[in-house]
């Protein structure tokens, strides 16, 4: 049980001239809820596909609970459930048939039906179980895709953008179920574009940029490292004094966001505005979030 759920050692991947992964090292412990973040093209999906055995690394090794995904692929895949990013489905079968087939490929038979019922219920698919996959709506197909990855009750679950393009209600339902699985002992690895999801769900975060991991820490530590506040002022069409322009993180349609390292800077900004005769129309003070961390680490090149 001391084996990491996922161990990635010095993984490189070249696609022709493109060096997609540049020596990734990462260990994810059993029971973790881990987020892998990064802009498009950072290498997240390549890394997940290597984990799933769909792509062979050019160098390095990857193991799932101690089983190498290349040499011991049968054991490694048995322990892994992967939700692919693309919305794919088999048009010949209904939801329950697909789940039974999927569990069957992993050696599970009728004894697994109770678990399939649990997955169907957890993802709100019970009343769709007998419906053909091609007749499901996009959101339902996405749930069925997640259910398929869970059909063999894998201890390690990888979700590659599982909530891309789905409504808030579905996202809530999916996350409630995934959180329950995590409480039951499943290790969860997630990639998502919704950073607030990663912030609320995941205990640890890895951020990738151009094939490298640029930050790897607990969510709390990352947020603390980038501690600070955001002062959001609605000022209208104005020219800011030069001494506070350096603090502006973002401006759009007369709404300026200032990144402050401590509270005393609030008065500094406000007095500079007063001196310049600029009137504050509205004001908000926010804590830094994962998006700020993400933007400061990877945002500029994305």
């Amino acid at each position: 049980m001391s084996q990491p759920a996922i161990k990635i050692n010095g993984v490189h991947k070249h696609f022709g001239a493109l060096h997609a992964l540049k020596g990734i090292d990462l260990a994810i412990e059993p029971g973790e809820f881990f987020a892998l973040l990064g802009p498009n093209g950072a290498g997240k999906s390549t890394l997940i596909n290597i984990l799933a055995g769909l792509i062979t690394p050019s160098a390095g090794s990857v193991s799932v609970m101690g089983f190498d995904v290349g040499r011991q692929y049968q054991q490694a895949r048995q322990l892994l459930g992967v939700v692919p990013q693309e919305l794919v489905f088999d048009p010949f079968f209904n939801v329950r048939e697909m789940l039974r087939f999927q569990a069957g490929y992993f050696g599970r038979g009728r004894e697994n039906d109770g678990w399939i019922d649990e997955v169907l219920e957890g993802l709100g698919l019970t009343d769709k179980a007998h419906i053909n996959m091609r007749k499901l709506s996009g959101g339902m197909k996405r749930r069925a895709l997640i259910a398929q990855a869970l059909a063999h009750k894998p201890p390690v679950i990888v979700l590659d953008e599982p909530t891309a393009g789905v409504d808030v209600e579905l996202r809530q339902m999916v996350w409630e179920f995934i959180k329950k699985l995590n409480r039951d002992g499943h290790t969860i690895i997630l990639t998502t574009h919704y950073l607030e999801e990663a912030e609320t769900l995941c205990s640890r975060v890895g951020m990738m940029k151009q094939g490298e991991i640029v930050a790897l820490d607990s969510t709390t530590n990352l947020l603390n490292k980038f501690s600070g506040k955001h002062l959001r002022l609605t000022l209208g069409d104005v020219v800011l004094p030069a001494n506070i322009q350096v603090l502006v993180r973002h401006d759009e349609k007369g709404v300026y966001t200032f990144a402050l390292s401590d509270m005393t800077q609030i008065e500094f900004v406000l007095s500079a505005l007063r001196s310049a005769n600029i009137k504050v129309l509205d004001m908000q003070l926010n804590e830094a979030d994962l998006e700020d961390v993400f933007m400061s680490l990877v945002g500029r090149s994305s």
Binding site: M1, F15, T56, Y73, Q75, D90, P91, G104, Y105
Partner: protein, 265 residues
């Protein structure tokens, strides 16, 4: 109730995995049996009606064997071969284009298990179509059976050869038009120019030599030998050629699957 137990997770080597894939492949074609079984049976019967109407009494290939009787085994075998190819190739190309092949690639199934499941499903589809044509054709002609073991051996080996060929085509093709090209420019000419409708002894010497390079010819000739006890070449020669061809093709397919050619990168 659902708390995770890791103790029983790593169970590999179970037969249930490949059996499930085979069952899924069988159900896949059975769900659309109107298209996958009924349609080829109707096509074969149309060939039978037209060719026997036009040529019966005008052409006699073997002494004492009416042309319609000569034609039936060839038509059965041609349908067996074409449908075995169609089963594995269409299943794979559809799964690739739809993207759902990933669900099989993510499983612990070995390349040999993957191969066997697609192969056996292709053989069964070929045999089901062949058997249906045989049963319907019995209404028209009383067919003699000289050696049932040869019939079974050639039906099995022929459908295995084409089922394997279908797996190769399904792995190689990325689009439906590439698959159609495979079907129209390789499978159709090889099956029509294999002696289904004639004996190759009726051809000029050059075309006889060309026909002997066509593995379909040996499958059809050997299969027909099982009915009439006569053929263009010895059934043992045919059996050896078809058997060796299948083994070579199976070896290539397993190499492709093991390397992940076009399936994994």
């Amino acid at each position: 109730m659902s708390a995770l137990k890791l103790t029983d997770q790593v169970k590999v080597g179970s037969f249930r995995g490949p059996w499930t894939l085979l069952k899924k492949e069988l159900l896949r074609f059975w769900r659309v049996s109107f298209q996958t079984v009924a349609a080829p049976v109707i096509t074969a019967l149309l060939y039978l009606l037209i060719f026997s109407h036009v040529l019966e009494g005008h052409v006699q290939v073997y002494d004492g064997v009416p042309y319609t009787a000569f034609l039936i085994p060839g038509l059965i075998m041609m349908s067996v071969l074409q449908n075995a190819f169609a089963n594995s190739s269409s299943s794979l190309i559809q799964s690739k284009v739809m993207g759902n092949l990933v669900f099989i690639l993510l499983t612990p199934l070995t390349h040999l298990q993957f191969f066997l499941a697609f192969l056996i499903a292709a053989i069964i589809r070929g045999l089901v179509v062949g058997l249906c044509i045989y049963l319907v054709a019995m209404w028209f002609v009383d067919l003699n059976v000289s050696n049932p073991w040869l019939i079974i051996a050639f039906a099995l080996l022929g459908s295995a050869f084409l089922g394997t060929f279908g797996i190769i085509a399904g792995i190689w093709a990325d689009r439906f038009d590439q698959m159609a090209a495979f079907q129209n420019f390789i499978i159709m000419p090889l099956s029509f120019l294999s002696g289904v409708f004639y004996s190759i002894h009726s051809l000029p010497p050059f075309w006889q030599k060309v026909s002997q390079l066509n593995p379909f010819f040996y499958m059809i000739d050997g299969f027909r030998y099982g009915f009439f006890g006569k053929g263009d070449v010895s059934p043992l020669v045919s059996l050896s050629i078809v058997g060796v061809s299948f083994l070579v093709l199976a070896w290539i397919t397993l190499k492709m699957l093991k390397s992940g050619y076009k399936l994994r990168s």
